[in-house]
């Protein structure tokens, strides 16, 4: 595969894929993901599950599964150079950021509106913080990121605001080499 994942890891993930696939039809449904106990207590669990599914579908095959996971492959040194030749790999900085961005962007209009941000904040922050406080956090967040004054965070603004963050490192998992 062109995802640059080692053979042993593919085998490993394939068996994981199968153990998740309770319907045994070669594809995972949302329920299969929802059956993972840790995800049920992950604040962003459902959003992340959704990110595995292409728009409008509720099945994901192994290829799609791997494609999503490939976002989290660490960037290797030798890859930085060949980016230019062979398109952008899934684990590029932009794609990693885009993955995170999608979690916020529910309506897929390439903008994080205040409401969308609030929803995610509410998920992450629990319920005991007041709406006002959360609202002010959201406002500040948007104010800080927003450059064109539309009170939304576009993807380019999102990238810009995180440009100092080592996304390559913070959105990578040390598997899939």
């Amino acid at each position: 595969k062109k995802l640059n994942i080692s053979h042993s890891q593919i085998t490993r993930l394939y068996s994981r894929f199968h153990s998740l696939d309770k319907g045994e039809n070669g594809a995972l449904s949302r329920e299969d993901f929802q059956r993972i106990p840790e995800l049920a207590i992950n604040p962003l669990g459902d959003r992340i599950i959704n990110a595995f599914f292409p728009e409008g579908e509720d099945q994901v095959n192994f290829r799609g599964f791997m494609r999503t996971l490939a976002h989290f492959r660490p960037v290797e040194d030798n890859e930085k150079n060949k980016d230019l030749t062979s398109g952008e790999p899934l684990n590029s900085r932009t794609n990693k950021l885009h993955f995170a961005f999608q979690l916020y962007d529910l309506d897929r209009d390439d903008k994080i509106s205040r409401d969308e941000l609030l929803q995610v904040l509410r998920m992450m922050v629990g319920v005991n913080i007041s709406d006002e406080q959360l609202g002010s956090i959201a406002d500040r967040t948007i104010q800080e990121a927003d450059t064109n004054g539309d009170m939304c965070i576009s993807f380019s603004e999102f990238t810009k605001v995180l440009e100092k963050v080592d996304v390559e490192q913070k959105m990578s998992i040390r598997f899939l080499h």
Binding site: M124, V127, N128, S130, M171, R174
Partner: protein, 912 residues
């Protein structure tokens, strides 16, 4: 702290003043004899001698620092540590020439008991914990394996050189001992040099962490060899080597444990210092220092102990103590550490001058220098190669060069070598000389050249930059994402374990070690606040006006455009419940701040970044806390997730996995009844008989509905309730004078709330009742428009709907269908069509479905009521009260049964 220096200081001073002291005493006594009578001025040198000398030394050191920093160009090129050593050399030479004898030495006792702990304490306390644990594997490897490698290789190779006959004659054990003490990277030197170099954080934490953690290795090796040297190499048995290994484990793990125990104690103590803020910093210093001493007491690794004490307690201590204490701790620690560092380097310089203490051997010096450099480099390269198999971000060549070159030796090695017993280690003097040279070489030569080297190699520098709120939020999201992906991929990776730890921390540790008020604060909110404060300060620094800046840079204003203008900052702050206070003291000096604070404790900031979000429950039932606390967050997230899934389930009409779903629901259902059952017990306790019929259902219902949205509001309701009571009261002549207690009497369900905080302010009840009534009506009407659009906005309505709701859950167990329709009647109509989907043939399933869908319908108005902006602004007089409470009004009347029982009662007079 000065006094703490007393003991070694005395020795020091005594030795210093030996030649001078007799003469002064003579002069003094003769003076006394000669003058007689009363003297206006007395020369009391012997009385103040010790502290005087210490203070003078500190002064000299500090002034020296000032002088160095006069020349900007100079200090950027030459590290301070070099200058201090040079100064020490000069001072030492002066003293030597003056008194023909070197009285001052870096005394190991002074060093290990007082100078080192101040530096290590500072380092441990301000250690970036996340970074440290992110790189823990690398740090441990370098610290243990690397140090062992260096020690053995240096020792054996020196012995080999000796066999070749080039250097001084000493036994194998002597050389191994020397190798052990010379091979450890020194925290003081590393800190001094690296702090000025500003390499990137990862590199710094690896080298610095190594220098701290390798203490255990050094201590053990040193002790083992000393004992081997004592008994003689011939008498060492194989068992002794194993004892050495066992001793290493005990020293390192024991040291860490001692540190962690003290961390827990310290954090726990600071929970209770609210009344004695002034000594908060003292606790920090004392307990951290005690951790060090205790470890020394049991001859465990004191540096490890102190480091882990600092790392462990910081999070809790910082949260518990006041802002001012935090600043005090920070500055005191930094001051002490800086002074200790200065003294160490000056004394290193001074000690080097004393020729009587050491003996020169060029061969030994040169070969030692070569060996430590070579083996350091080899060790680093080898270990890095190994590590890079496992590291997410591999350490590249440049990093390895800096790490090899940054292996500085320092005062620890010197103090250890001075501690050697000359009787047993014959070559001590040679070792001392070599150590001095090695230390000087590493600190001065390497310290001088590392900066240009780093520049030349283009090592990524650290940016001293505070994270923005965006980064705070998104990085947290990243963490959640990674954890989820690891879970999906079935890996038990680093994020998995970190998440596990955080859960544990939230569920147990934080609960134990944090103040209640702090426990509920959200980290995100804290971060937000910090950034806000920083902005505000910078705005003020630039000559901005607080008032305008508050408007500009505190965007919380934007969210409340519907509210009347805030006239001054204090009001503004007060309104926000100190949310955006620029200075904590501002809030404290506001009259009634205590009430504010109490309130804040109860309601303003609660909740945490999804770990355990336990709500402050004692208002409902004091016993509630004991039940299922640790599951609360899990349950919350679980329920919410389930709800979302259910929604998506409904919308997609996805019926395939019916069985699986109902199973899940069964779980969700099982959780609640269990809680509800336990809740009932405390509820039976209340005094008034009439409560029995309301109260039991209250927590019950509360939980049913969801946890969540009631939770935060709950503490606010006390304010709200008396208001509504007062409102009735003012209109009815029958009622007692408006007072909180009257409110409580009128509202029977409130006496179950026994421990009402004093936040039921009389003020609230006095505010023009008409406005309040307006606010009340408005909130009710907005509630109604949200909850049941078709219903006419009449005051009685909530009672009716609430009553019908009260009927709902009672019927639920009996018949799911009817409860579903009951819920639909009073709740939103959005849920009713979908509820039809859940009528499964089996009776049991039906029940669960019904109950759940009903719960959901109740949730919907709730959730929607939270999202839209607050209702039309109430009249100005009531704004401060109405604004924040409005949401809770609908929540109350929507969610809980009690108002339904209460309102008819309290309203009856009005209607009559």
């Amino acid at each position: 702290q000065l006094k703490a220096y007393g003991h070694p200081g005395i020795a020091l001073a005594r030795s210093a003043e030996e030649p001078a002291a007799p003469s002064t005493e003579d002069g003094e006594s003769s003076h006394q004899h000669g003058g007689g009578g009363y003297r206006i001025v007395q020369w009391e040198w012997s009385y103040v001698q010790t502290p005087y000398i210490i203070a003078s030394w500190l002064l000299v050191a500090s002034v020296a620092k000032i002088l160095f920093h006069f020349s900007q160009r100079f200090t950027t090129a030459v590290p301070e540590s070099c200058m201090l050593i040079l100064l020490g050399l000069v001072l030492g030479a002066v003293v030597l020439i003056a008194s023909k004898k070197q009285p001052y030495q870096l005394d190991p006792g002074l060093f290990f008991l007082f100078l080192l702990p101040t530096i290590v304490g500072d380092a441990g306390y301000f250690m970036p914990a996340r970074l440290f644990f992110d790189n823990l594997g690398a740090i441990l490897l370098y610290a243990v394996v690397g140090t062992l490698w260096n020690a053995f290789c240096t020792g054996f190779c020196l012995y080999g050189v000796k066999m070749a006959g080039v250097i001084v004659n000493a036994g194998l054990m002597d050389f191994l001992l020397f190798g052990a003490l010379i091979s450890a990277v020194d925290p003081v030197a590393v800190l001094a040099v690296f702090e000025e170099v500003h390499v990137n954080e990862t590199l710094f934490i690896i080298v610095f962490g190594e220098s701290l953690v390798n203490d255990a290795v050094t201590v053990v090796l040193y002790k083992v060899y000393i004992s081997f040297v004592e008994v003689g190499p011939g008498n060492v048995h194989t068992a002794d080597y194993f004892k050495g290994i066992a001793s290493f484990l005990i020293v390192s793990i024991g040291g860490t444990l001692v540190g962690l125990i003290f961390a827990v104690i310290l954090a726990f103590v600071t929970r209770f210092t609210k009344k004695v803020r002034i000594i908060e910093p003292l606790f920090v210093f004392l307990l951290v220092y005690l951790a060090y001493l205790t470890a020394e007491l049991f001859s465990l690794s004191a540096i490890l102990s102190m480091t882990f004490c600092g790392i462990g307690c910081k999070k809790y201590v910082e949260a518990n103590i006041s802002q001012k204490s935090r600043t005090t701790v920070k500055y005191t620690m930094k001051t002490l550490a800086s002074i200790a560092e200065t003294i160490i380097f000056i004394f290193l310089g001074i000690s080097a001058v004393d020729k009587s203490k050491w003996a020169w051997d060029t061969g030994l010096v040169v070969s030692t220098l070569i060996f430590i450099l070579v083996f350091r480099a080899m060790g680093v390269v080898g270990q890095t190669w190994f590590l890079n198999w496992f590291r997410l971000v591999p350490l590249d060549k440049i990093d390895q060069v800096v790490m090899s070159y940054g292996g500085l030796r320092g005062a620890v090695a010197f103090a250890l070598v001075v501690l050697l017993d000359k009787e047993q280690v014959k070559a001590k003097d040679y070792f001392v000389a070599t150590t001095i040279v090695v230390v000087f070489f590493t600190v001065m030569f390497q310290g001088l050249t590392i900066k240009p080297l780093v520049k030349w190699l283009k090592v990524p520098r650290s940016t001293n930059r505070k994270p923005t709120i965006n980064e705070e939020i998104h990085e947290r999201a990243f963490d959640h994402i990674l954890t989820a992906v690891e879970d999906i991929a079935g890996l038990n990776g680093y994020h998995h374990w970190r998440d596990k730890w955080e859960q544990f921390d939230k569920n147990y540790l934080s609960k134990l070690l944090l103040r209640k008020s702090v426990y509920h604060k959200s980290e995100l909110w804290e971060a937000y606040q910090k950034i806000n404060i920083r902005d505000a300060i910078s705005v003020i620094d630039q000559g901005g006006n607080v008032l305008t800046s508050a408007r500009l840079s505190l965007p919380s204003m934007a969210s409340r455009t519907s509210f009347p203008e805030v006239t001054n900052v204090t009001n503004y702050l007060r309104e926000n419940g100190s949310g955006v206070c620029l200075d904590l003291q501002v809030i404290d000096t506001v009259p009634g701040a205590k009430i504010e604070e109490e309130l804040e404790t109860h309601h303003v900031l609660a909740g945490n970044l999804y770990k355990p979000r336990r709500r402050y429950q004692s208002h409902y039932s004091r016993h509630f806390m004991t039940v299922g606390e640790k599951e609360r967050q899990d349950r919350e997230v679980f329920q919410r997730n389930m709800r979302n899934r259910l929604e998506s389930f409904k919308s997609t009409r996805y019926k395939r996995h019916k069985k699986d779903r109902s199973q899940k629901k069964a779980i969700a259902q099982n959780w609640r009844p269990r809680l509800a059952k336990t809740d009932k017990y405390p509820a039976v306790v209340p005094v008034a008989p009439e409560e029995d019929k309301h109260d039991p259902s209250e927590p019950d219902k509360d939980d049913d509905v969801g946890i969540t949205f009631v939770a935060r509001k709950a503490p606010e309701t006390p304010k709200e309730r008396p208001k509504s009571a007062a409102l009735d009261v003012c209109q009815s002549p029958v009622a007692a004078p408006p007072s909180p207690t009257c409110g409580e009497k009128n509202l029977p369900w409130k006496s179950g709330v026994g421990s009402l905080p004093p936040c039921v302010s009389v003020e609230a009840t006095k505010i023009i009742p008409i406005d309040l009534q307006q606010a009340w009506n408005q909130s009710i009407s907005s509630l109604e428009s949200l909850a049941s659009p078709p219903a006419p906005p009449e005051p009685q309505h909530p009672r009716v709907s609430a009553l019908s709701r009260l009927g709902g859950p009672l019927r639920t167990p009996a018949k799911g269908k009817s409860s579903g329709s009951g819920g639909a009647g009073s709740g939103s109509n959005t849920g009713s069509p979908s509820s039809g989907q859940f009528k499964f043939p089996t009776g049991k399933e039906e029940e669960e479905e019904g109950a759940l869908s009903q719960q959901q319908q109740e949730m919907q108005p709730l959730m929607s009521s939270l999202r839209p902006p607050p209702p039309p602004p109430p009249p100005p007089a009531a704004q401060s009260a109405g604004k924040r409470r409005n949401p809770c009004v609908y929540l109350r009347s929507l969610v809980t049964v009690p108002p339904s029982g209460a309102e008819p009662q309290s309203r009856r007079p009005t209607q009559l």
